[in-house]
Symmetry: C2
Subunit: 185 residues, 2 copies
Amino acid sequence: MPLKHAILGILNYQDMTGYDIDRWLQKPIAFFWHAQTSQVYKELNVIAKNNWVESRVEVQSGKPNKKVFSITDEGRIELKRWLGDADITEIMKYKNPLLIKIFFSGNIDLGATMRLLEKYIAECEAIIDSMNEDTRNIPDYEESFQTKEESFYWGMTITYGLMYYKNEITWANWCIEKLKAKIDE
Amino acid sequence: MPLKHAILGILNYQDMTGYDIDRWLQKPIAFFWHAQTSQVYKELNVIAKNNWVESRVEVQSGKPNKKVFSITDEGRIELKRWLGDADITEIMKYKNPLLIKIFFSGNIDLGATMRLLEKYIAECEAIIDSMNEDTRNIPDYEESFQTKEESFYWGMTITYGLMYYKNEITWANWCIEKLKAKIDE
DNA sequence: GGTCCCATGTAACAAGTTACATGATTCC
DNA sequence: GGAATCATGTAACTTGTTACATGGGACC
């Protein structure tokens, strides 16, 4: 469901092609929902069948033709229904493959676990850097987010991301210290 | 993949039935990997075909018969291969449905978003409580975790959980304050 | 000559969800 | 009498992944 509704939310900003939606999913949304391009096109077909979106083909010369999607009234109703739904069971279905690895790390040597955590820290730092980059580019985004409302909530997700990844780094560093202490035992 | 390997990791502690594995997944592992019972039985079939586990039927009277699984040498090799694999692309595939809702909350009223966040905080607090309860019951678990190694890594995941959910609560409260300020504008 | 961007997908497969089915025993 | 525990699944479906296919134009 979240991907379908993310697509509806994006199309509620403006009409666009599957390709454009994919770029949205790769940029401001990527850090809290990643999706394959092929999945985007599939979901577009599904929600078109639900009458949540409709499409028209724009013939282009020199470029591939475009299939431009727009959200329907039914789609807007569905988007608002989903957003306003206070059921959080879906939200609580937490899955973290790193924690599974850590949990069973007694089966491998300490060094491998340390290297994994170090690699993870490096990735988290890279994400924080790119999010800081994004916040410096707020003016660019404010063209897309036409209302103050939109950038207000976008700010909440950015804050989330920064807090989340800093917390991940803090924890991973703490683990590495623990592992070092174990080696020195 | 993670579920298959979580099952291998559990069976590496001791032989058990699908039912027992399901309980493991519901208790110490649940907060970082949730799985349906039906999924557990399905994955057991798949990894049995891979020769990572094998099973024997134990006839019982007064109770349903048991199908007891044990990990094979091939399964142990696969578990260690997966644990030692430093590729973190799988780990970085982050998905957070709450953040999607927040991101598009400009489409609904502030009150609904606040209620969602409050509900989320309550759930996070409940999880923290149950994890604190678990740490008080460490002696019980130490029967299952036969080595110090195992409870060492288990401690890392518990620390992760506490840090993670506290951070979620801090963020959600900050969002609620922001929303309140917006209402008072 | 090579890579990136634009643009849209299909096919096969893996993973996860939801709902349902069965049935005895034990505990309150 | 009702709920929980033990115990194992199937069927139908949705969601996500991986690999592949096509092809022109722009930029270096």
